[in-house]
């Protein structure tokens, strides 16, 4: 039997199992059906809900402009799947090609797609994390609970970590008229994702909107009252603040624990896969029947030195899922690479923030359009003399152009005339990323090294 015959059989009567029923899982399932997959399709999800959209959960849903239960993802087509919702995958047996669920069921597969995504990093102290008033924000239920709390007569909120989620929560709190303190271990908000130069703009933006922003500060302990309700937070500068609500926004953790012992290259930095979304085993040998997509996947990207990138981006989840689905049911020569240019956006304090490329790889930065002190600009990041990323505040429409510049390896700094260029000559400066060895709060692009099976990677950008 030729490989092509196998593909035909698979397309007609194969069994495809998708573990992770969120954005990537749904879009993959739709793509499978769209491309003619006629076999059985099983969707496994640990949450009890059908796939829903997460970006509104830290924005409109906190303000009460959208209800968390109304964020179900629109369906592109019927997927005729068996849904196993509310039950998580517990382990993977590659020899027998089965996924075992936490309720003891086993689900056999011919092709497996892993889209288990991430979860919010919990507060490090379990007893403090369990206090009434301590929240994380990742799921629909998290958002609904936090919205109820924020609109239920609280006066002061503590946000721990000023990454994107934390900053969006702080923004929503201010819009709701609540006092909010933000504690960030790094020197500025968004510093892990965009660096200290842009972080300083975000810093001014938060203060201008009345946020009590404290950078270079860690929260050392959360203290409850006799009833188990949060009442006070202790900070690393020795001070304490009285709060009823703390939102822990310390980034995400990849849901890979269930793959321990399975022999696939999965670890805290994600599941390593090739550019065609095929998962590697721990020996660095690619599997042919297991695929990964979305936040949990890390794959090599030729534009970024072939480093493995893990991208917690909405658009990446969609595109990678489509590529994975396509490759799962086609013959080898028809497979496509996932070469998505990283892109994400955020809305906070009335400003649209958008980024393309991989800013943390940048060793230099110029403000190519607009001005930092107006909080309206496009900043362009360079890496060894070429354009590697761009970030904008309220100037997102230009980023398509900079995306092309990144993809074509355009020289840095850009020396051409452009509209809204404020200086005759651009003077590159250090974008001021924190030491990559220190943990940061929630960068949404993570460079995870060169090796598929590395579990701990130290990446040191080479500064000139």
């Amino acid at each position: 039997m030729s490989a092509d015959t196998d593909v035909e059989v698979l397309r007609r009567q194969g069994r495809i199992v998708v573990v992770g029923a969120s954005l990537a899982g749904l879009r993959a399932a739709e793509t499978l059906r769209e491309q003619g997959f006629a076999g059985s399709l099983t969707m496994i999800g640990d949450e009890p809900y059908e796939p829903y959209d997460r970006p509104p959960l830290s924005k409109q849903a906190l303000l009460g402009r959208a209800r968390p239960e109304d964020t179900a993802l629109p369906r592109r087509r019927d997927i005729d799947a068996e849904w196993r919702l509310g039950v998580a995958a517990e382990s993977l047996d590659r020899d027998t090609r089965q996924v075992r669920l936490t309720n003891g069921d086993t689900v056999p597969y011919d092709r497996l797609l892993i889209t288990t995504g991430t979860r919010a990093r919990p507060w490090f102290h379990p007893e403090e994390a369990a206090l009434d008033g301590v929240f994380v924000l990742r799921t629909r239920d998290d958002s609904a609970r936090l919205h109820r709390k924020l609109t239920g007569g609280v006066s002061r909120v503590l946000v721990i970590g000023a990454g994107f989620t934390g900053s969006e929560v702080a923004s929503a709190c201010r819009e709701l008229g609540l006092e909010v303190t933000v504690a960030e271990r790094g020197p500025a908000p968004l510093v892990g994702a965009l660096g200290g130069v842009i972080g300083a703009v975000a810093d001014r933006l938060q203060r201008k909107h009345g946020v009590d922003l404290r950078c270079g500060i860690s929260v050392t302990a959360l203290e409850g009252d006799d009833m188990g309700r949060l009442k006070r937070a202790h900070l690393s500068d020795g001070s304490a603040i009285e709060v009823e609500v703390a939102v822990v926004s310390l980034g995400a953790m990849r849901n890979t624990e269930w793959l321990a012992g399975s022999g696939v290259a999965a670890g805290p930095r994600g599941i390593a896969c090739d550019a065609g979304c095929r998962v590697f085993d721990v020996n660095g040998i690619v599997t042919d029947d297991i695929y990964a997509a979305g936040d949990v996947a890390r794959s090599p990207h030729p534009l970024f030195d072939y480093q493995f990138l893990a991208l917690e981006h909405w658009g990446n989840a969609v595109e990678q899922a489509e590529i994975a689905a396509h490759n799962m049911i086609c013959a080898g020569p028809d497979r496509r690479p996932h070469l998505w240019l990283p892109m994400f956006w955020s809305t906070q304090f009335g400003v649209n923030i958008k980024s393309v490329g991989v800013p943390p790889l940048g060793d230099q930065l110029v403000v190519a359009q607009g001005a930092l002190d107006e909080a309206r600009f496009v900043a362009v990041y360079g890496y060894r003399g070429r354009v590697i990323a761009a970030a904008s505040f309220d100037r997102a429409k230009w980023l398509g152009f900079y995306g092309q510049q990144i993809a074509s390896g355009a020289p840095f700094p850009p020396e051409y005339r452009a509209v809204d260029r404020r200086t005759e000559t651009l003077h590159p400066i250090d974008p001021a990323f924190p030491d990559p060895h220190l943990p940061t709060h929630g960068p949404t692009v993570t460079l995870t090294g060169h090796s598929p099976s590395e579990r701990r990677v130290t990446f040191v950008p080479s500064h000139a």
């Binding site: 429409k397 230009w398 152009f401």
Partner: protein, 400 residues
């Protein structure tokens, strides 16, 4: 421009009724240099990429001497309206003007005008009673957009007729062939309308009423506000007349689609978008200039070159749209360039769409058409804002 160049053929009135074969010829060389150093860009991806390129300016004062400088203030004229400016001036003006007009600050402003526009449509159609032939341009498409712009601005109804005359003179000035006579007329219309608006703005400043002028009077200089009002009239009037007329013409040329539309009014959305692709009301944008050498499609456009972005050609690029010369309301992924793209994306697009959706379904619901009386109909001179001057049609009946 020397005669015989393709740009001259496109602006030649003889080709107005069907410029599409010329556009197809143009696309064979996606970036074409005219003898005078103007570059014509005609393929979808290249047009889209340039429209989003910060090295391309809408401020024609960046052109070397000797080239047409559309939109620049002539002696004692108004400042350039925001379409002819670059950031940061452009962004400041557009952000300000958007506040009373659309989301996030005024998400319901346009919807509030819908009822009034529907009444105008009803009146216009009621007047078809007893006729067996009408001119869709004069009797239907023409009056609505001026009323719409006047409502947006807050111009009293009784002053609307004056706007019709100004709108004609101003729209014709966007034609590269307008010549000194046309530019002069447009300049006088700008000044007359400016004087009228200066009075109106002063009135609104003292006694605010409905419309964006009242909201903007405290925010902008009178000159900037006058220039803005003139722009909205130029850009929002004839374009929308053409869009309504083109939709009618296209439907009457495609009886199968017309029949479906009459059975299923929900076809209006994809149908109107397809008309905007197939017969875009702004055919090309001839007022951009390269600020630097730009490499596009294996050609370098040198710094200082005037660049024409050929939207109507790009909208029929077979690399982007399958079977592009076919009018197909079932087309998926119809991301046409009918409203342009990038920071100069049509400011009035939501207003234009609302006018089309108020006018077109009601026209075809109430009127039983017999046939086009002239096909092709006579066109206006303007090659940029291309559209029929008249669209005479025979009608069989009118329902309530």
């Amino acid at each position: 421009m020397t005669s015989g160049t393709i740009a001259a053929q496109i602006t030649d009135y003889a080709n107005r009724a069907d410029p599409y074969p010329l556009f197809a010829e143009l696309r064979e060389q996606p970036v074409r240099r005219e003898d005078d150093g103007t570059y014509l860009v005609s393929t979808y991806y290249e047009v889209r990429s340039l429209a989003n390129d910060p090295r391309l300016s809408n401020d024609t004062s960046n052109r070397p001497p000797g080239y047409t400088r559309v939109g620049q203030p002539v002696e004692s004229g108004l400042p350039p309206s925001f379409i002819f400016t670059d950031p940061p001036v452009h962004d400041r003006l557009r952000d300000t003007i958007n506040r009373p007009f659309g989301p996030p600050h005024s998400p319901r402003f346009l919807d509030g005008l819908r009822g009034g526009l529907a009444e105008v449509v009803t009146e216009l159609l009621d007047a078809f009673e007893g006729k067996d032939q009408v001119d869709i341009v004069e009797d239907f498409a023409y009056p609505l957009p001026v009323t719409a712009i006047c409502k947006v601005l807050g111009v009293p109804r009784e002053d609307e007729p004056r706007f019709h005359g100004w709108a004609d003179a101003l729209a014709s000035s966007l034609d590269p062939q307008a010549g000194e006579d046309g530019q002069g007329k447009a300049q006088r219309a700008r000044q007359d309308m400016g004087a009228y608006l200066a009075d109106l703005i002063e009135t609104k400043r003292r006694r605010p009423g409905p419309g964006i002028l009242s909201a903007l009077a405290p925010e902008m200089t009178p000159a900037d506000l006058e220039a803005t009002a003139v722009l909205l009239l130029v850009a929002g009037h004839e374009t929308t007349v053409n869009a309504i007329t083109n939709t009618t013409l296209t439907l009457l040329r495609h009886p199968d689609v017309l029949e479906r539309f009459q059975k299923d009014p929900s076809l209006a959305v994809p149908l109107i978008e397809e008309v905007l692709r197939y017969e875009p009301p702004v055919q090309f944008v001839p007022w951009t200039t390269a600020l630097a050498d730009i490499d596009v499609a294996d050609t370098t456009i040198p710094e200082g070159s005037p660049v024409w972005l050929m939207l109507a050609a790009a909208n029929r690029d077979p690399r982007r749209f399958e079977d592009p010369d076919r009018f197909d309301p079932d087309r998926e992924d119809n991301e046409h360039l009918g409203f342009y793209t990038g920071i100069h994306y049509c400011f009035g697009a939501p207003l234009a769409r609302m006018e089309l959706h108020v006018a077109v379904p009601e026209l075809f619901r109430r009127v039983t058409f017999s046939r086009l009386l002239e096909d092709p109909p006579p066109y206006r001179a303007n090659a940029v804002l291309r559209g029929p001057r008249h669209l005479p049609v025979a009608i069989e009946g009118l329902t309530a």
